[in-house]
Symmetry: C2
Subunit: 343 residues, 2 copies
């Protein structure tokens, strides 16, 4: 009533639309769309005109409209079990660096090491019609698996390896990392070797398994020296478990920790309690977090290619999203034993 010819339609966003760009450039909206997307064949001259018009109007596509019209989003979902672990931050950063420049949006989900929470995240993110999923490991609920399968959305698994047909994964063998740890400690002449793992995700268990197997092969396996707890991995917990283990088994002379946090905690408690590292006990960590090389004594650890895994996983995803097959679907990025003072 107040303004009969109200052209300020409240339902519009107020931002310039493709139509306006097309009008300014003197072409049809479809041509403008094609020009901006760089698809199909549009005369170079027109492309330039459209780009100039878009720049002039400060035009940015409306992702919602694009997703609706094409039934395809430009987002890739990454699900990680934790953010408080610096481990995954490096991987996420690398993924961002690869996907963002290509116009993809990265949606991050943290499932807190809970299979149910991961299933929930998957279900919710499905609504966004993501173009791809970057998932951590292979341990998930049956429903999660079915959802992924049914969705037909490309998926790359990170951190672990699985040579099953049709699986795209980038990681390293957690099992042989555990073996390497054992071999290193054995090569140092240690006789009573222990494994301390927390959180007990699939990867921690696999590393423990590799460690155990190598010890069994060397005839040095003792199940009493395997400390596993589902509690969340932390520096404090590492110190606690370390002291407990030494109290129960004073003859232990080497410990492989499933995680650097735990190992760092052990080093600190050793300092506090006058336990000589590595003389009395050799300590080996896992992941090689930035702080480890600064510990007293400097912590030996197995360095994992977190950044490289993220990068390659994202690159595989780009290939898959382009509709192509990945040449090497199972990519072993290896790991590197960093020998320092603690062993």
């Amino acid at each position: 009533m107040t303004s009969p010819k109200n052209d300020k339609n409240t339902r519009t966003t107020g931002r310039p639309t493709l139509n306006e760009v097309a009008r300014l450039a003197g072409v049809s909206p479809i041509t403008a769309s094609r020009a901006l997307r760089g698809v199909s064949t549009v005369a170079t001259e027109l492309v330039e005109k459209v780009q100039k018009a878009a720049l002039e109007l400060n035009y940015v596509v409306n992702p919602a409209a694009r997703a609706l019209a094409s039934a395809q989003s430009h987002s890739v979902v990454v699900l990680v079990p934790s953010l408080s672990n610096l481990l995954f931050i490096d991987t996420l950063e690398a993924i961002h660096r690869v996907l963002t420049p290509k116009g993809f949006e990265v949606l991050i989900g943290n499932f807190h090491y809970s299979r149910d929470e991961e299933e929930n995240l998957l279900r919710n993110y499905m609504a966004y019609q993501p173009r791809g999923f970057l998932l951590t490991g292979f341990d998930r609920t049956e429903s999660s698996r079915r959802m992924i399968e049914a969705s037909n959305i490309p998926c790359v698994y990170m951190m672990e390896l699985d040579s099953a047909a049709g699986v795209n994964c980038v990681g390293f063998s957690q099992l042989s990392a555990g073996e390497t740890a054992a071999e290193h400690l054995l090569s140092r002449g240690r006789k009573r070797l222990a494994y301390i793992g927390a959180q007990l995700d699939q990867r921690t268990l696999l590393r423990g398994e590799g460690f155990r197997k190598a010890l069994q092969k060397a005839g040095r396996y003792d199940p009493d020296l395997e400390v596993l707890t589902p509690r969340a991995s932390s520096v404090g917990l590492g110190g606690e478990l370390f002291l407990q283990l030494l109290a129960a088994h004073p003859d232990v002379d080497a410990i492989f920790f499933g995680n650097d946090d735990l190992a760092q905690g052990a080093l600190l408690e050793a300092l506090r309690n006058g336990i000589k590292i590595p003389e009395q006990v050799a300590i080996l960590g896992f992941n090689d977090l930035p702080m480890s090389e600064h510990m007293v004594p400097r912590l030996s650890s197995i360095n994992t290619p977190r950044e490289a895994i993220g990068r390659r996983a994202a690159e595989q995803m780009l290939t898959l999203m382009a509709g192509n097959k990945v040449a090497r679907p199972v990519e072993d990025m290896g790991f590197e034993l960093k020998v320092r003072e603690s062993t």
Copy 2:
């Protein structure tokens, strides 16, 4: 031609739509929409019917269609300067915990302490028509400021405080945190107090300023004992700067570090070099990261309410997005000095 009545339109997503839910429930699509959103007045009986139908079909709204139709997304953008710093992880988690249950999607942007990168992120995320911005601090480019202003999108600033009119912020006074640090060290009878800061974001500078002011007031300020570097904060850097400072000024008897990483690095180097903490030098950190209380000696630090800041900021955002004014737009969450062995 091959199939005259092809109902498998390739442009559809294949997922159930609101129409199908409505049909199954025996109501109109609009009623179904309203029932699922819980808006307007829909008979309880119908709401139940619709919800049952949605559940049966495993229906999830199409966010793209919703955003397009309502010219409003359900996403909130959070921009943080770093993810490798555990500091912001706690804040992000808290934000997630508040916004996700309310149906909002959290988009995380990391601007790596770069004003230009933040400006870019802002520009890109504007395209998503976010419902709100949660930003870190007040130090940004003029264009960023203008963009935010022009967009008319509600904005809550985290970590710092500013009582300017119309500003919503949740944080604490970085300045008085610096003052508190100085007062604590002075109360321990220390005479030669130093400040070591890295990264040099606005907050680190403000803490340094507070520290300096308190020292000046006590007549103990010496500009030579202020070590500032734009290099990225890290454990290694902390140790390095610590040793350098002590070599240049052997009489220093207390150091306030702008960051716990730096302080932790200093503690480790002190151990390695036989420097007695706190006897020779008292060391005070900032942020109270989880590891600090486990250091040898246990690190005194200023605990910052990272989780609470995220929670309150998100809650303010909910209020703003609902179109309401926030009762207390400037929320000081305080900080807590944790006195441990290192001071």
